[in-house]
Structure formats: structure tokens, C-alpha cells
């Protein structure tokens, strides 16, 4: 047919956010670009006309009709769409990040032409909380964007890591219920900055902001009040001197790895890949972190313990309570706060 129209082998579909959301869309896309440019493969991203299963499916169809051999979709919002698409396009490979395909019933069904990648955000959050307390911070706060699964895991892990470190170091830290919140959106604005300023004025020394663009307002608050914050997803140290460290997840690396497998003809179709500490899926950027005392050795040690399973990081409220009970710590945070 119309051969003048260019084709693209690797396609990505953005979810509700945009390509530069500094979250899964951007991380995923950067991975694709890195791989594709290195190997000279055509690639592009598509934006659905609206946020709904039908629109996602239409966009996947569009990408396939434009020659996509592998379609990457970031975010759990794609679960139902991929469930459908993996049947409609048996010759196309799908990489679903942060989710597992299902028919709307949460009964996971990963097709032979699909790979699901989940990240252990709770382990990343854990590392951040752990490092912060060992670095001497005793008053911590957590601001998530919205209570979507990945953001919940970051928060739960962060609380667990902080209290675990407090236990280890024998310091008393406070993590009251009102220092754990979801902002309600991912935008930079005065409200978020003011809320962060209020926390700082109440003695909070560091805030972990897993909130996309809203993190920028937390940074601004930290700058104005001479406090610190922790970035998320990617290394954010270059944006502001207030960023002590960032709870990273290796989106790009994971995507590149699976793409490489695809082009090496060993696409791990049907598999669920869990990118955790042991898979180097989550990490803190120790080179650029601004720790006062927390050392590389300490980091390597805790990272090892998590990777080996010696420390099993909780990923939801129930697990968090059990985890804290086991180490003899408590938190005032109530379940309704974590899962509003």
C-alpha cells in the first residue's frame, strides 16, 4: 500500500500523562530512544485521543498499522487494552510496564506475545527512607501525587525503610499520620508548596515527593525554607541542591533490556518480570546523592540485604504493620491514609 508513509518498529503509547511527565512515560520513552538510536531502529510514540480502554486499543491499532513490531505501554491503565490487543495482534510484541493484562476482572493473563514488567517501588522507597534516617534526618514526610499503586508502594516502602533504619541506629524518629499524604494531582502549584512549607515549619526535615511535577513545588519549598527533599523515579539531583537523593526505578534500563531480548529473538513472552533490588531495578544514585554521613558501604549493605531477601520490604499496609511489628517499631499512620 502507501509506501511513502513512514513506518516505525518500536512504538510507545503514552498513558494519561504526557511524554515528559518525569514519570513512567518519560522514563520508558528515554529507554526506547536510547536503545533505538544505538541500534538505528525506527521508533515513535503515540498519544491516545482520550483516556479510556477503547482509545488505548485504537491507538495500539494505529501504531500497528504504522508498522510497529513491538509496542511499549507504560502504566497499569493499559491492562485491559493490552489484554485485548495481545489477542488482536498475535504477531506484535507488547511490553506492559507496571501492570498485568486482564479482561477487567483483575485475573491476570499475560499472552505469549506480552511481557509484563513490575517494579519494586517499595524497595526503592525503602532505600530512600533508610538512607535518610541513617544520614541523620529524624523528621520525615511523604507526599505522593495520587494513590495509584506505584505511588502507594513508594510511600509504604519509605515508611518501612525509615523506621527500619531508626531501629538499627537506635534513634527515635517520628512518622506521624499527618506527615503522609497524597496531593491529589501531579502539578506544580502554590498549594503543594505551601503544604510542604507548613510541614517544614512544623519541624519536618526532609520530604520524599513521589509526585511528578508537584515535586517541583516541594523543591521550591525546601529551597525557600532551607530544608531538603528526596526525588523520585529518576536522578533529580541536578534540578536543585535540596535534592538529597532520589528513589529511582530503572524504567529505561528495563525497557532496553527487553527490547534487546526482542531483537535477539528471545523475547520473554508470557513472562512477568519483577524489577527489584536483586534485578537492579531500583536504586539510589549514590554518586550524585548529597549525604552527610550515609556511606556507600551502608548502601551496599542494605541493598544486598534486600536483594537477597534478608529484608523483605512491605508493599501494602498490612505488610507494613507486620514488618514493623517484627522489628518492634510502630507507626501512627492509619490504613485510610495509605489507601484513601
Amino acid at each position: 500500500g502507501g509506501s511513502e508513509v513512514e513506518t516505525y518498529e518500536i512504538a510507545m503509547i503514552t498513558d494519561a500523562g504526557d511524554i515528559d511527565d518525569e514519570s513512567f512515560n518519560q522514563g520508558t520513552w528515554e529507554g526506547i530512544v536510547a536503545y533505538a538510536e544505538e541500534n538505528n531502529i525506527s521508533h515513535r510514540y503515540y498519544r491516545p485521543a482520550a483516556v479510556s480502554d477503547a482509545d488505548y486499543i485504537a491507538t495500539i491499532d494505529l501504531a500497528v498499522s504504522a508498522g510497529a513490531k513491538v509496542v511499549v505501554t507504560p502504566g497499569f491503565l493499559f491492562e485491559v487494552a493490552i489484554y485485548q490487543a495481545q489477542q488482536d495482534h498475535p504477531d506484535v510484541m507488547f511490553i506492559l510496564i507496571d501492570g498485568v493484562p486482564h479482561a477487567g476482572d483483575w485475573d491476570g493473563n499475560i499472552g505469549d506475545n506480552t511481557v509484563s514488567i513490575l517494579f519494586a517501588e517499595h524497595e526503592s522507597g525503602f532505600l530512600a527512607g533508610y538512607a535518610a534516617v541513617h544520614d541523620g534526618y529524624t523528621e520525615l514526610g511523604y507526599m505522593g501525587g495520587m494513590a495509584v499503586p506505584a505511588v502507594v508502594r513508594f510511600g509504604v516502602g519509605f515508611v518501612a525503610g525509615a523506621l527500619y533504619a531508626a531501629n538499627e541506629a537506635g534513634v527515635a524518629i517520628s512518622f506521624p499520620n499527618d506527615r503522609y499524604t497524597y496531593l491529589g494531582d501531579f502539578d506544580a502549584k502554590d498549594s503543594h508548596k505551601n503544604e510542604a512549607l507548613a510541614w517544614f515549619s512544623l519541624g519536618t526535615e526532609i520530604i520524599f515527593a513521589a509526585a511528578g511535577g508537584a515535586g517541583s513545588s516541594v523543591m521550591s519549598a525546601a529551597e525557600d525554607s532551607g530544608n531538603k527533599m528526596i526525588g523520585v523515579d529518576v536522578d533529580q539531583s541536578s534540578i536543585s541542591p535540596t535534592v538529597v537523593t532520589s528513589a529511582m526505578k530503572g524504567l529505561g534500563a528495563a525497557v532496553q533490556q527487553v527490547l534487546a531480548q526482542f531483537y535477539a529473538d528471545n523475547f520473554p513472552g508470557g513472562e512477568l518480570l519483577i524489577k527489584n533490588a536483586s534485578e537492579d531495578g531500583v536504586a539510589l544514585p549514590m554518586d550524585t546523592s548529597r549525604f552527610a554521613t550515609f556511606s556507600q558501604a551502608q548502601y551496599d549493605s542494605i541493598h544486598g540485604r534486600i536483594a537477597s531477601g534478608a529484608v523483605s520490604v512491605p508493599e501494602n499496609y498490612t505488610e507494613l504493620i507486620a514488618f514493623l511489628n517484627a522489628i518492634g517499631q510502630t507507626t501512627a499512620i492509619v490504613e485510610g491514609t495509605i489507601h484513601p
Binding site: 508513509v5 513512514e6 494519561a16 515513535r44 503515540y46 498519544r47 491516545p48 485521543a49 482520550a50 483516556v51 479510556s52 480502554d53 477503547a54 482509545d55 485504537a58 491507538t59 491499532d61 494505529l62 498499522s65 504504522a66 497499569f76 491503565l77 485491559v80 487494552a81 477487567g104 483483575w106 495520587m146 494513590a147 495509584v148 499503586p149 491529589g184 494531582d185 501531579f186 489507601h339 484513601p340
Partner: protein, 380 residues
Amino acid sequence: MKLKTLGSQIVKKVAERPSTISVSASVLAIIAGLFVGFIVMLIINPGQAFAGLRSILFGPFSDMEGGRSLGNTIYYAVPIILTGLSVAFAFRTGLFNIGATGQLTIGAFVAVYIGVNWAFLGPLHWIVAVLGGMLAGAFWGSIPGILKAYRNVHEVVSSIMLNYIAMYTVTMLIKQTIFNATSARALAPETTARLPQWFLGDVFPRSSINIGIFIAMILVVITHIILNKTTFGYELKSVGFNRDASQYAGMSEKRNIILAMAISGGIAGVAGAVMFLVTGRFMSIENHLMAEGFTGIAISLLGLSSPIGVFLAGLFYGALEIGGFYLQRTTNFVPQIIEIIIAVIIYFSALSLFLQKFVANFLSKRLKKEVQISEGSDVL
């Protein structure tokens, strides 16, 4: 010969109608907007500009397998037609409803709430859900109406406030009543509550089209009749144009202001219901005002605030959306390009009075007769 004169007479009759001129001005605005969009595309990437233009022009026919693109054009148009109609109705009665987005949100919530919880209604389920959305929107719309009628509060400022109040209220209510905690969004309405497709499902099998378009058409006809054929519409417009004279004529200006806002809000509420009583689309708890309400303002004006005009402008908007979507297949343009083009078209349609004069001059010359333009006074 005779036939020819008859033909030219008809042409003349049509050409002399003010509506002909305003419509052709809108068409000119669209052409001008597309032209500027084309220039923008030429500047960015000359090689693809033509492909881009083609894609935007023929967007609704991009993917005709199963009538998908055409069906989706209509599907996307429906909420915009409805919010446009909501704003237009208020405009015609002298009110600026900048609060359609809030009314839409409240309407959507109530519709989805009914959709999730009242499955016992069986086949009536979706009807009740839509009506629920309408009533909720009407309630929300009547608040600025009441504040204006009794407390002289300017409807623009109260509507802006109520937009945010609606947004937070709905976020809170979703969390408390129909929350899907796993995905941090509202639950899906039951199948019985989703808008049926009827035969449209066979005509456009691969698209998302549903009977929302019929709901929109019914409301277009009803509002057209109310505004143009009834004493009720006469009163509403009178109050909008001249409160003092309406009072003198014994009309209840307070009641009419409130009713106008309630009707406007009710239509926006239906828009909310129609948007979310579908498969695979969920109300979010993200604190964002929904864009459809604001787009409705533009569409209402592009349609010259007349129900039928809004209907056509809404369809056109749907076509642009689809065009923008399929633009991604044929070109490399960043998706924002379509938003830019839409904005440019809206801007040019603002120049319609100028364009009308242009058309009128042209016709006057051709017909050698004075041609009258309607200065759009019934717009505001």
C-alpha cells in the same frame, strides 16, 4: 431557461438570508484556521505538511474498517456538543456559564454513582443514570443562578468557584462511595448503566459510538424549540436582554435566571453522564477541571450560540480531534499541533463579523443589492 432563472432566484434567496452569511463566515473561519495550521506545519516540516493537512481534513475517514474513525468522530463530538449547547443556551439568555465543567463533573458523578449502585433498575438503569446526571447538573447550575438572582453575584465568579468546589466534592465523594482503591479511581458503572449502541454498533462496529449522539440531537432540538418557538424561551431571552423591561412586562426575572442556569447546568450534567456511562472509562480522583467545559465555550461561539450551529461545530470539533489522532500515523508532528490548529480556527471564528462583512460585500456585488448581516447580537 425558465428553470435557470428559477434556480438563480433560489440561489439569490438563500444568499440573502443572514444565516447564510453567518454560516459562510464560519466556514471561512475554518478555512483560514486550517490555512494557518498548514503554514505552521510547513514551517516545522515542509515535507509532511500536505500529508498533515490531508489527515486533518479527512480525519473522520482515516480508518474506515468497521467505520471506526467516523464512529469515533461522532463519539468524541457528543460531550462537546452537549457542553457547547449548555454554554450556548446560557448565552442566549444573557448569562455566561463558565461553570459547565463543574456541572459536568457533578452530573458525571451522580450518573456513575447510580450506574454503580442501582443495578436493580434493569433496562431502565442507564436512563435513570442519565437523568440523575442531568438533575445533578441542573442543581449545580442553579446555584450561580440563585446567587445572581437574589444576591446579585456575578455568574462568572460564582461559577469559577463552583467549578473547584465541584471538583473537590466529587473527588471526596468518589473516595467515600464508589472508589476503586487498587486503581485510585471510580468504579465502573454496571453494564446495564452503560449507554447502549443499538444499531450504531452494527453500522460502526469497531468504534466506541453509542446513543449519546441521539441524546445530543434530542437536546439540540428541544433547546432550539424552547428558544425559538415558545413563550418560555421568549421570557428567558427577554430577561437576558433587558431585565428592567422583563420586570415591567411582569416576567419573574429571578425565576427565569435560575431556570436558565438550571437548564444550562442540566445539559452539562448530561454531558458528564454520557462521557462516563461507557465501558473502559473511569472518573479520576485527580484534581483537574475537565477540559470539556471550557471547550464548550469555544464551540458554543463557533456555532453562533444557536443549537443547530453548536451541533455542527461540535461535529467539526470531533472531526478535528480524530484528524489530530490520525495525524500521528502519517506525520511526525508533535500531537500538540492539532491543539494549536484548533485554537487558531477558534480565533479566526472570532473574526467572523469581519468575515461576514467580507461575504456580504461579495454577495452585494454579485447580487447588485444590499445584503444584510446579522451582527451576532443574539450571541451575547
